[in-house]
């Protein structure tokens, strides 16, 4: 089934900490977007306030296919996400999805790296790898936080070995996610990462140095969210088969890319 724009219902809304919220939304049986959703994909969320025209892209943090629900964990970053944070159980919200390609799950030992608001999509990925038969000790999750506000960290514990870095050194390794990888001498056959651009650059360099393939999830401003408007491009190493120039659409060709195919 294809992507669709549907009216979802808010099943729960919870403030995790500070400006971080967690919202479960549920779908009707006919429009069960959750059924097809994969880790690493995202949804376009639409504001009710008509002056805010453009959809807000938010990653899928958890999938409950049976109940037809998706979990979104987001930071209030502006007026749109503030509007979402006021939604209550039973309210409705228009969403379009599932969008983008998602991560390609590989067998064997893996390193999942999430930084800041790039952490949420790694939760569904850890879960999916675990459910696909991965051993907990083979699923190594490295989470980069600013300080001791360790949102979502505990939720990884059932599926993965969890390591933490904090910028202020209050918990785990002081520094960034790569510092934590080095400190714990974490190794694996596939890297999956989502986070701010400087972090992705570090991940790419690390993966290259260690000859490990890396799948990185990129972020860019979006308008259509479905690949038509060419707003959300990132630079690619080679001429792209669709655009015929050296850039790719984050919303359609991504958001997950092989680190070697994009220029950061």
């Amino acid at each position: 089934m294809a992507k669709r724009k549907v009216l979802a219902q808010v099943a729960s809304q919870e403030r995790l900490s500070g400006e971080i919220y967690s919202m479960w939304i549920s779908f009707s049986e006919e429009d069960n977007i959750a059924e097809e959703a994969q880790a690493g994909q995202f949804l376009s969320l639409y504001c009710r306030e008509g002056s805010r025209l453009l959809p807000r892209p938010i990653s899928i943090c958890e999938i409950d296919r049976e109940k037809g629900r998706l979990r979104l964990v987001y930071r209030v970053a502006g007026e749109g996400t503030r509007e979402f944070s006021t939604l209550q159980e039973g309210d409705t919200i228009e969403v379009l999805g599932p969008l983008g390609n998602g991560f390609t799950k590989k067998e064997g030992k893996s390193i999942l790296i999430g930084g800041g608001i790039g952490i949420p999509p790694m939760l569904e990925l850890a879960k999916a790898l675990f459910k696909a038969g991965g051993k907990k000790e083979d699923i190594q999750v490295v989470l980069g936080y600013r300080d001791n506000d360790l949102f979502l960290k505990e939720e990884f514990a059932p599926y993965a070995e969890v390591f933490v870095s904090t910028e202020d050194g209050s918990v785990g390794t002081k520094g960034n996610v790569i510092d934590a990888v080095n400190e714990h001498q974490i190794s694996g056959g596939e890297v999956y990462a989502c986070g701010p651009l400087p972090m992705l650059r570090g991940v790419k360099a690390y993966a290259k140095e260690h000859h490990i393939p890396a799948q990185i999830s990129m972020e860019e401003r979006m308008a259509c969210g479905i690949g038509a408007c060419l707003v959300c491009v990132c630079m690619s190493k080679e001429t792209d088969a669709h655009s015929h120039v050296k850039n790719k659409r984050v919303c359609k060709d991504g958001p997950v890319f092989d680190a070697e195919e994009v220029e950061l």
């Binding site: 453009l54 401003r221 038509a228 408007c229």
Partner: protein, 303 residues
């Protein structure tokens, strides 16, 4: 579908089953919107601007949201006419709709080259985007000088095998001058408005929100300006007018039609509501039903 209601229009000699198309650049070549809109239900599909060779476009960020609208500076990224003819046209030709190909260029020769390459193709109409900067004239847009508008229109008309529609830039003092210049150059139709040049400052970064500094404003915020310009242009020329700028629904579209547009295009709002163009068709039909209008032509320019 009520057979008594006639939504069809004759536009520059092309029969359109209804007066609704998509605004260039907001719909790609329709491939990505196929899941949301039945392309057979539209009067025409207008494609993203295509140039003689692939264009990379501008660096990101290419857009920002503004109150009731958005600024874009895509920089007319496109795969070039060869790929367009090989891939995009066959896709659209499967559908029972008219194809309007939007053409861009940096020099008159580049426009002419694209138009020449399209001469043998099965398309209904050419839409010429003259809001592009003319590199030979120091970067001023073709569409900002009536003499240039007339000249480029004539050069394109000389080689075009399909009717030519000049897409006017609203960033001018007097839109009627440009409309008349296009008509004098032999244009078969005009379309307007393209985006209004704007700017947004990111106060936290103390910098421009767009990498390109300026961008084109589109969306509901520009609609009153667009309706006014369509009204003025439609009264200044005899050739038909395709109106656009901020259309969200049938009511908005009907404003343009009553102001004098024979056709309308839905653009930015499709980012909010992917099926907007098809919904506008339905809404116009419903309006005609409710108001006892048998033929859409009764409404064109009726104010």
């Amino acid at each position: 579908m009520n057979t008594e209601r006639n939504l069809s229009v004759d536009f520059a000699g092309v029969r359109m089953k209804n007066p609704v198309t998509t605004a260039s650049g907001t719909f790609g070549s329709g491939m990505e919107f196929e899941e949301f809109v039945d392309l057979n239900g539209l009067g025409a599909v207008t494609t993203k601007g295509v140039a003689s060779v692939p264009w990379e476009g501008n660096p990101v960020p290419r857009i920002c949201e503004t109150y009731g609208g958005m600024l874009n500076a895509i920089g007319l990224q496109n795969p070039g006419i060869d790929v367009f003819i090989e891939r995009d046209l066959p896709f659209l030709q499967k559908y029972d709709t008219n194809i309007i190909v939007n053409v861009c260029g940096k020099t008159p020769e580049e426009y002419v080259e694209v138009v020449r390459r399209l001469a043998a193709e099965k398309i209904s109409l050419l839409e010429i985007n003259i809001s592009c900067p003319n590199v030979k004239a120091g970067g001023i847009a073709f569409g900002q000088n009536p003499k240039l508008v007339e000249k480029i229109t004539r050069e394109i008309k000389d080689v075009a095998k399909q009717p030519v529609m000049m897409k006017l830039s609203p960033n001018v003092t007097d839109i009627t001058e440009m409309a008349k210049a296009a008509e004098a150059g032999g244009a078969d139709a005009i379309s307007l408005i393209n985006t209004l040049t704007g700017m947004k400052i990111d106060i936290h970064r103390r910098s421009f929100a767009l990498a390109n500094k300026t961008g084109g404003l589109s969306g509901p915020a520009i609609k009153p300006v667009a309706v006014r310009m369509v009204y003025q242009a439609a009264h200044a020329v005899k050739i038909p007018v395709l109106g656009m700028g901020g259309i969200r629904n049938a009511e908005d579209a009907l404003e343009f039609i009553m102001a004098g547009a024979s056709m309308v295009a839905v653009g930015t709002y499709q980012f909010h509501h992917p099926s907007a163009a098809a919904d506008v068709v339905q809404g116009i039909e419903a309006f005609m039903e409710e108001n006892g209008v048998k033929d859409i032509k009764e409404l064109i320019g009726c104010v």
